[in-house]
């Protein structure tokens, strides 16, 4: 059975690219939301196996959204996504309980490895 992914990103390009990278894999995009606020609101209804969360979005920062989701749903598996991050961001992601970090543009191997580790 496919693993269901919730994609949180305000970029249509990122959504399309993620879909391209996941084509032919055991992962399906179950939900696409464009903001951290929407992700918090819809997480319980979607119940994804995994969340990819962009960090820089309009409105709420992805790390803040991830932190709230993880407080409400400690079982959540969230992978942070960014086009640029430094050590302080990695540390914060780890501290809030994110399961991984991937760069943009997406690399299939890096993404699948992060998914496998998060779900492992």
């Amino acid at each position: 059975m496919s693993k269901r992914i919730m994609v949180v990103d305000d970029s249509r390009l990122a959504r399309v690219q993620l879909g391209d990278v996941l084509e032919g894999t055991d992962y399906e995009i179950a939900s696409y939301v464009r903001s951290g606020e929407d992700a918090i609101e819809q997480y319980d209804a979607v119940k994804p196996d995994l969340v990819t969360m962009d960090i820089i979005m309009q409105g709420m920062d992805g790390l803040d959204a991830a932190e709230i989701i993880l407080k409400q749903h400690p079982e959540a598996r969230i992978i942070m996504v960014s086009s640029l991050a430094y050590e302080d961001t990695f540390e914060r992601a780890k501290a809030i309980g994110a399961k991984g970090f991937v760069d943009k543009p997406f690399h299939r191997e890096q993404l699948l490895k992060a998914f496998e580790e998060a779900l492992g």
Binding site: S11, L13, S82, S83, L84, D103, P105, H107
Partner: protein, 158 residues
């Protein structure tokens, strides 16, 4: 900024990032060329801060950006809104790659502003061109990546 990174090194970083990100994102091969973009242009600009205080501008043929966007979105045509969104996200990802590469060389973390999109060519005030890299897709599509630094007046003030 330029005391942190030599111009030649920055050119190398930019060139590598342009080729990699453009191919990965939009399936287009850009190679350095002497032919400048035409008259129908779009510009996207970001400003680096927290260590570098410079800006990077992409000035490209609208047709080239449209083809890249169509490739990326798997569509035959693209709306002006989608073109703008694509251009900003593409440039955002490119600049992220550049900033990461600069950090590996300088250990200075660079952050940058959200990209700003303009129709036509945009020249930032108070800046001068440090260098410009010109590219072609081999199909009449041109792009220039322009690195601007703060203009220094004759008396040495910025």
């Amino acid at each position: 900024m330029n005391t942190a990174l030599a111009k030649e090194e920055l050119e190398r970083i930019l060139d590598q990032a342009v080729q990699d990100v453009t191919e990965q994102t939009a399936g287009v091969c850009l190679r350095q060329d002497n032919q400048s973009p035409g008259e129908d242009l779009c510009t996207v600009r970001i400003t680096f801060d927290k260590g570098f205080h410079t800006s990077l501008t992409l000035c490209a043929d609208t047709g080239l950006l449209s083809r890249m966007a169509c490739n990326s979105f798997h569509e035959e045509s693209i709306s002006p809104e989608d073109l703008e969104e694509f251009s900003k996200e593409y440039f955002n990802v490119l600049c992220g790659r550049i900033a990461r590469a600069m950090f590996q060389v300088t250990n200075v973390p660079a952050h940058f502003s959200p990209p700003v999109f303009y129709h036509g060519r945009y020249e930032p005030e108070g800046s001068e061109v440090q260098f410009m890299l010109t590219y072609s897709d081999g199909d009449c599509g041109g792009a220039q990546f322009i690195h601007h630094v703060p203009r220094v007046d004759e008396d040495g003030t910025v």
